[in-house]
Subunit: 138 residues, 3 copies
């Protein structure tokens, strides 16, 4: 089952400068990151870089889900608007260091409605920016 062939129907990319997010604002952080993500980033050598990388991953996932919906001709809303919190999309590395996507709430419901079985993401950082790419599979 887990090994069954998947096929990509949605892709997303996002990039952000490391100084572009309001990471000094606790409300911003709580609106967009789970407690587990916050602990995870604060324990990294460069928390700002880790928070920004996760942000890019979340945005790339949103774009990949919307891309998937367009691809299958679905009319259901795939986002809750530009300012919607990204708390529903949790990005935590597994033991291999591979970022895993865990969906809750609205994002989870959308993926269930679209029959999206899996969302993959990869993240990279430089000194000045982060970038992430995501793919949605049915």
């Amino acid at each position: 089952e887990q090994n069954a062939a998947l096929s990509v129907k949605g892709i997303g990319i996002d990039t952000e400068m490391l100084n572009s997010l309001s990471l000094d604002n606790p409300n911003f952080v709580k609106r967009n990151y789970t407690e587990r993500e916050i602990r995870d980033c604060q324990n990294k050598p460069d928390p700002k870089s880790s928070f920004t990388g996760k942000w890019c991953a979340k945005e790339a996932v949103v774009k990949a889900i919307s891309s998937f919906a367009s691809s299958v001709g679905s009319k259901i809303p795939t986002t809750q608007g530009a300012g919607a919190p990204l708390l529903d999309i949790e990005i935590i590395n597994d033991e291999k260091g591979v970022p895993q996507v865990k969906l809750e709430g609205f994002a989870k419901t959308v993926c269930q409605q679209l029959n999206i079985r899996d969302v993959k993401v990869s993240i990279s950082h430089s000194d000045t920016y982060a970038v992430a790419v995501a793919a949605c599979e049915e």
Copy 2:
């Protein structure tokens, strides 16, 4: 039909600094962007950023088509050379804000010959550059 499983055989990525294109040159713009794309970019808050994002998307699509051709062992030419215009590859967002790829002319013929059914693309911008990723599916 639209929901049939697709499989990715080609990927492409492109990035450009926001000041790297000759966007002040009307001939450059007309050679590479459709009238619909020009209107679309000029109506955006930051036209330079939008033009550069579409450029990256077009280049990423060209790379994904070439990647697909290599993947299936095809010897047909997939580009018309380094300076070829990108007018054949139109990038317009749908109502979900997902960039859609519309092919004409040479690019369309190549995709038909290679049995490429779908080309997906995603675009992101920062203050200084744009980046796009594309995938080709049969």
Copy 3:
């Protein structure tokens, strides 16, 4: 056979500033690039950019392989640690200019064990950085 449908199960992205690698250190270069890659980069108009692009491609491939392993629930090690040489992953453009991935040694063994049939990669450069994306297919 070559045309059989593939499905993506792993993705990777990597970006590096053009001045971030120890390319002036011959040991660094020999540890991470094959002789063919070194010749190839030295013959390019901007060797530093080419070396950095290939580095990003190699790192993106490592991430895509690890992503694939996580996706299929495999516990086998997919890397030899953070400082492991990238010599096993050779990136050479084909006659279409599409970067092709050739695996040797540890990387090749891992892909065989995971039944990864194909690894695709795409590379892009700006004046200041390079970025690459990779996908693994079974």
